[in-house]
Symmetry: C2
Subunit: 474 residues, 2 copies
Amino acid sequence: MAERITPRSTDHSQWYLDVIREAGLADYGPVRGTMVIRPYGYAIWERIQQGLDGMFKATGHQNAYFPMFIPMSFLEKEKQHVEGFAPELAVVTIGGGKTLEEPLVVRPTSETIINHMFSTWIQSYRDLPLLINQWCNVVRWELRTRPFLRTLEFLWQEGHTAHATAEEAQEETLRMLEVYRSFAHDEAAVPVVAGRKTEREKFAGADASYTIEALLGDGKALQSGTSHNLGQNFARAFHTQYLDTNNTLQHVWQTSWGLSTRFIGAIILTHGDDSGLRLPPRLAPIQVVIVPIYRDDAGKAAVMAAVDELRAALGTSVRLHVDDRDERPGFKFTEWEIKGVPLRIEIGPRDVEQGVVTVARRDDGSKTTVPRADLPGRIGALLDAVQDGLYAQASAFVADNTHAADDEASFTAALARGGFVRVLWAGGSEDEAAIQEAHGATIRCLPFEQPDAPGKCFYTGKETSTVALFARAY
Amino acid sequence: MAERITPRSTDHSQWYLDVIREAGLADYGPVRGTMVIRPYGYAIWERIQQGLDGMFKATGHQNAYFPMFIPMSFLEKEKQHVEGFAPELAVVTIGGGKTLEEPLVVRPTSETIINHMFSTWIQSYRDLPLLINQWCNVVRWELRTRPFLRTLEFLWQEGHTAHATAEEAQEETLRMLEVYRSFAHDEAAVPVVAGRKTEREKFAGADASYTIEALLGDGKALQSGTSHNLGQNFARAFHTQYLDTNNTLQHVWQTSWGLSTRFIGAIILTHGDDSGLRLPPRLAPIQVVIVPIYRDDAGKAAVMAAVDELRAALGTSVRLHVDDRDERPGFKFTEWEIKGVPLRIEIGPRDVEQGVVTVARRDDGSKTTVPRADLPGRIGALLDAVQDGLYAQASAFVADNTHAADDEASFTAALARGGFVRVLWAGGSEDEAAIQEAHGATIRCLPFEQPDAPGKCFYTGKETSTVALFARAY
């Protein structure tokens, strides 16, 4: 039988596609670059939605829904914005059998239509801050696509806020980046580097963009969530103004921030191994799978009685699945490993006699024998151990694959090893472009954590104390 | 000051638009026929989603996501389907700056693309039943639009299932209609009549369609949720087949079912009154609003201490909002009445002294004095009373506005009074068309509840035992 999953060392790209197919996460759609998110993949997205939505509401945001169709003229109001998005647009030109007078853009993001509405909703300082989030689909006509990482249509949330002062907008921008960082860390066990984007890499229409960057198993970086300080750029384009306490008309200060189904790609590529997916327990649709093992009807009766008892004892404390299909245990083990279920519980006739179960951890493959009666009390700690184990492994990987460079030779050598390359940086956008051209690497971010000691820029030789993180990226 | 809300008796259509605007439910989008769902309206949708999603999962369904763009050729595969939807399509003809070889339809519904995928996912009887649901946006290029009731883009869920037998598909079709009926009844306090659509009114591509029909405050009916038995129509068009236990290739039997943001229109138009919205407690984003009342700082301190104590005592048992804005109580009362909050709690200095609060019910306007210490124990029953009160009023309205007719004269008279007209029916599609032309009314459904006694069809005079429910409808 051919391997269901290509080893990573053989072909990392193929490994990624194999895992997505075999774990039942997604499938190609009929239109080039589109993706069907299958139930198991969508269940991960539901966990992400639930987690983030709670964090957004806890920080005072409300959900709303804005139309998907945006008049082309709206995009043209903000110069940088339309330049950034024009090449990627899907355009509706026919509606109800007739050619439309003005073509409609399928939203690639919603700053323009939201500002159009904000300009009517916001009158005075009492209406501020206005803190809105939207869960929706967006379309960007990408040429090179890859399931989850870059698809023509994707699902995301986009936060849009308006504030009375520049300071508040900046605070909000950083607050929401921290929401993403802590979500990645605490829920997805994905270590990320938080920092600012350079001028060249920032969002089209923003004053400043911030990002969380993950480092994936193949040594490439992935922008996994972004938060933008939009300044007054869209407010000026759409006349989004308020009367301040002195009765003077002012433009609002704005932010936007988004995280998408791309994040599922970050999870797969951070934690996956040659056996398939490894899911962090807090986001896993199934946290624990029970596989009963027996050879005959008598054995089956005894084992299933113990399984039922265990299921009742665990109740709703964990997301549990009992795999009672009529298949060999080995087949089931392989399947649940591919699907990345954090804990597998095996119960055979001898286990029943001895009052124990075997618990196999997906993060490190270890097996422990646990008294059956103790399991309900220990299951939470076992799941936490897998969560921590995955984070520790991923964190060590990032540390092992972050290299410093102080000249172009060491930079080239570091890039060849893969991972993040940490340098002192005083270059400009043209220098970045030249490096990308020569090395295929970009500045992922200027990390918030910066060293104290100044030194020479590895590329321009200028004195600087700014650290930049380069990598090849998706 | 002009009335914020036009009385229903003056202009029912304007009343509806006024309520939507003043309660902050929705706003017009910039593109004709599109709608922005504002946070308060979207919070109702979130409650609907949460309730239905739980019911779908409890009946074995899983969520997934399919691409929004469907090749035009897919729609053409099922003849009735394309005939039904072709006039309403939005079409993308440009992507990434280039004219597309094949135009893409923005999904008006997803039977075709889902069958395309099902045909690859389903191989054998072991893959059945396949029970999928999708939450998404859809687009239908409607000419006459109305917020929530009929918009160019709307949000909905669409269930799509595949089964091995016709019987299972029929069971599923009725099971999901019953989910909608019980949701409308139990959660939204909206009485609906469940029944079958006639051949003329059924879904384009279905063998049979079932519906829940609400009767709104203006005497018009609203199709509020539908469930379709698709037979093998799409399976044949897309070759969605499985190997049965005899190793014979068979077409699957399918269902689809949907409920949309239109349901918010049903809630507004079932329960609203001249003071604004009245929300059923189980779906209300805010169930209880506390309005502190005071004249001076000393009074404020005492009242707010009592409010804080009450807030702490209520905890998370209800969705609570404290309106501590610096506005007059009368202004606040009006606002929360417009927003339809089920219970308003008033606390003034004298109430604090006496250890009581005043509870005002939105369903009947009644006020009761309740000892403050008793409120946490009684709040659940009070909310239930409002829920039941709204249902009882709506139910009485349906009963009062359902009239029998036994010939065309009495039919005309009954229609003029508004509401449902109950008749014996043995006509065909052409008779229905003639009646719609003459009276502007359609058969909303053939109710599941049918009388025993046969008689003469009010229109054709033929002997029949089938009851039909006519109404003018949205």
